[in-house]
């Protein structure tokens, strides 16, 4: 078992308040990359630039918009919008109780269980510690001009209530802020 992962699990278990940042994570690197399967799995602290560099070797690319390649993929995921969500295949997280959980995987079609891997896109570090993400990648020739996605606040009271309750599901002690 990955020692940094265990350290982070302990950290979460022992903390009463935690602000997630890439520097806190200190967890980076490409875990698996199968070009013929169009899939890459990376630790959340890996910079987007590094991922792109790796993909370029096989003439492949990420198919979502990024304006800053220096940020980590975890940060992009936490702030992410539709275009990023569209290519997420799986995610491994540490929830607010320090439990390491795995949702989704490395295959494009997967409807087993609720789509937590996409639910947490845009969770802004408030629900769980994102540890590892798997993405579908594309041959570079298939990627046209990428534009910034549109994001709007959903003002419905019910929507906000549901988001609040979902935070409690992943972070029952309310430690991520």
């Amino acid at each position: 078992m990955d020692s940094r992962l265990q350290q982070l699990q302990i950290l979460v278990k022992e903390s009463s308040s935690l602000h997630i940042k890439s520097t806190l994570l200190d967890y980076s690197g490409i875990v698996e990359y199968y070009a013929e399967d169009l899939v890459i799995s990376v630790k959340a602290g890996t910079s987007i630039a590094q991922i792109k560099k790796q993909l370029k070797i096989n003439n492949q690319a990420l198919s979502f918009y990024t304006d800053n390649e220096d940020i980590s993929i975890g940060a992009a995921y936490a702030q992410g919008a539709q275009d990023l969500s569209d290519c997420v295949l799986g995610v491994k997280i540490i929830d607010g109780t320090g439990t390491y959980l795995n949702f989704g995987g490395q295959v494009m079609k997967n409807v087993a269980g609720y789509d937590v891997a996409r639910l947490l896109v845009g969770s802004k570090g408030k629900l769980a510690l994102i540890m590892q993400i798997s993405f579908k990648v594309m041959p570079a020739t298939y990627i046209n001009q990428l534009t910034p996605p549109i994001k709007r606040k959903n003002n419905s009271v019910l929507h906000q209530q549901i988001e609040k309750k979902l935070k409690q599901v992943f972070d029952p002690r309310g430690i991520f802020n």
Binding site: M1, E36, S85, L101, G113, D115, R118, S123, R152, N154
Partner: protein, 476 residues
């Protein structure tokens, strides 16, 4: 007053079906091995009536099973004991077509293909195309996150839904858009199998018809060669619009119905569709033909009619297998593409072990397998053997790094297999998510996510770092 009486009183004639005779045809969906008669079937005409049904069910604490066309293959719409079936087939209007933004707003009972038909005049179509697209409804597609044969390039339902309106069990309306800031609630609803809400309206994204389409049909003398060809096409940097494979059994069944000229002597058949602008398609086509040069038969579609014919065989393959065997059991595991050939060989071995024939029809491009296990439900014990066989295939899928279901959903059918794919803590998260939306567990309860004790009984539970989770639970 019983709930059946309450419902009958609340609605005009013809909306509530209560007699045994009339509710029995609703006892199963496309997976007819699971059957359960509901207390009543309600076929509302509008959203106000849906709200009323939910209200009555909530007061009486009676579960509601939402149903579209009942074409699902995992028992997602199978009624539960003492439940109400809420059929949305009458809500079948295309409300708005927004050509400029390439969107269509439709009611949940609109058939998948009806959307494409309605927007065809604008040169648009709705991309996800499950084999049952002729009959299945968009509400069901969202609930199951349906795939199809064009997912590789154009995505699943989740990638093609712009927004939905849904009702919670409390009858409150929730509008979710893919532009919402914050959590991916819309994505969560896709594939939630009717456990979180009742979808009342879907805004789908439309795709412009490709300028140029070509289809290659290649027959192979060996399954492995065919599987390798799939990998090689993707490796070459080509994303076909569709990349489908069938084995000899499936080829024979499909050809028998559709009569489209599939090579009957081939061990495996590959259908590869390329679309886009003409120059690019031509380039890719040349490339693909080079990759497929080892095929025993190789044919490129020469007309639109021929291309559609090639698809017709593939799309009717499932049901056409019905001509070879009185019953079949359709699996839906997905594996990383690189393991395709190994998986097929293993299935072949298992077929001999269980003495059951298997026809393989699958979305090779995205590693989504559909082995159809042929059996006879009238022969005692054959269904049980079939299910055992199926479970082995699903376990293999998970062990290869894939999933138990790519696009058909868990429903009632794959509950046991879920215990193999997820550990207790993960399943618990799923239960808590359900609880956020549906505290009293009234929406399609017991489907999609297994109860923890079920997994414990199965003994298929993940053991986390040597500790057994929930030591207090009895294990059998």
């Amino acid at each position: 007053m019983t709930i059946v009486n309450q419902l009958s009183r609340a609605f005009p004639k013809g909306i509530v079906l209560t007699s045994k005779e009339n509710t029995r045809p609703f006892e199963c969906d496309g997976l007819s091995v699971y059957r359960q008669k509901p207390l009543a079937v309600v076929l509302p005409d509008d959203i106000v009536q849906i709200k009323q049904v939910l209200k009555i069910c909530k007061i009486n604490k009676i579960p509601v099973v939402t149903r579209g066309a009942g074409t699902g293959l995992s028992g997602g719409a199978t009624p539960l004991e003492k439940s109400i079936v809420l059929g949305l087939s009458k809500l079948n209007k295309v409300k708005l077509i927004d050509v400029e933004n390439q969107l269509a707003v439709v009611e949940p009972g609109v058939r998948n293909i009806a959307i494409s038909e309605a927007v065809a005049q604008y040169g648009l179509y709705y991309a996800p195309d499950p084999s049952s697209q002729i009959a299945c409804t968009i509400g069901g597609n969202v609930s199951e996150n349906s795939g199809g044969v064009h997912c590789l390039k154009y995505g699943l339902t989740v990638h093609n839904v712009e927004a939905i309106r849904m009702l919670t069990i409390d009858g409150d309306e929730l509008i979710l858009s893919c532009q919402d800031d914050g959590l991916g609630l819309l994505a969560l609803m896709n594939g939630s199998e009717g456990l979180l809400g009742v979808i009342t309206e879907v805004t789908v994204k439309l795709t412009p018809n490709p300028a140029f389409v070509k289809m290659v049909m290649a027959g192979f003398d060996s399954v492995r060669d065919c599987a390798n060809a799939v990998t090689n096409i993707i490796k070459a940097g080509i994303i076909p619009a569709g990349l489908e494979m069938m084995d000899s059994f499936a080829i024979k069944a499909a050809e028998g119905f559709a009569k489209v000229g599939y090579p009957l002597d081939a061990k495996a058949l590959l259908l590869c569709e390329l679309d886009g602008i003409q120059t690019q398609v031509q380039l890719e086509l040349d490339n693909v033909l080079k990759i497929l040069s080892g095929a025993s038969t190789l044919k490129v579609s020469e007309s639109e009619e021929e291309r559609l014919n090639f698809w017709k065989g593939r799309k009717s393959a499932f049901s056409a297998v019905g001509t070879l065997s009185p019953d079949y059991y359709c699996m839906d595991g997905t594996i990383p593409r690189r393991h395709l050939a190994d998986m097929l060989e293993k299935i072949h071995k298992l077929s001999k072990k269980y003495k059951l024939r298997v026809a393989n029809v699958f979305h090779a491009g995205d590693g989504n397998l559909h082995p159809l296990i042929l059996y006879d439900a009238n022969v005692t014990g054959e269904l049980e053997r079939t299910e055992e066989f199926g479970t082995e295939i699903l376990k293999l899928s998970v062990d290869m790094g894939g999933t138990i279901t790519g696009e058909h959903g868990v429903g009632v059918e794959k509950l046991n297999a879920m215990c193999h794919q997820f550990n207790t803590q993960e399943l618990e998260i799923f239960h808590k998510i359900k609880h956020v939306f549906d505290e009293n567990s009234l929406l399609n309860p017991g489907k999609a996510v297994p109860e923890l004790h079920r997994c414990a009984e199965l003994g298929a539970m993940h053991v986390h770092r040597g500790e057994l989770p929930y030591p207090e639970l009895e294990r059998f």
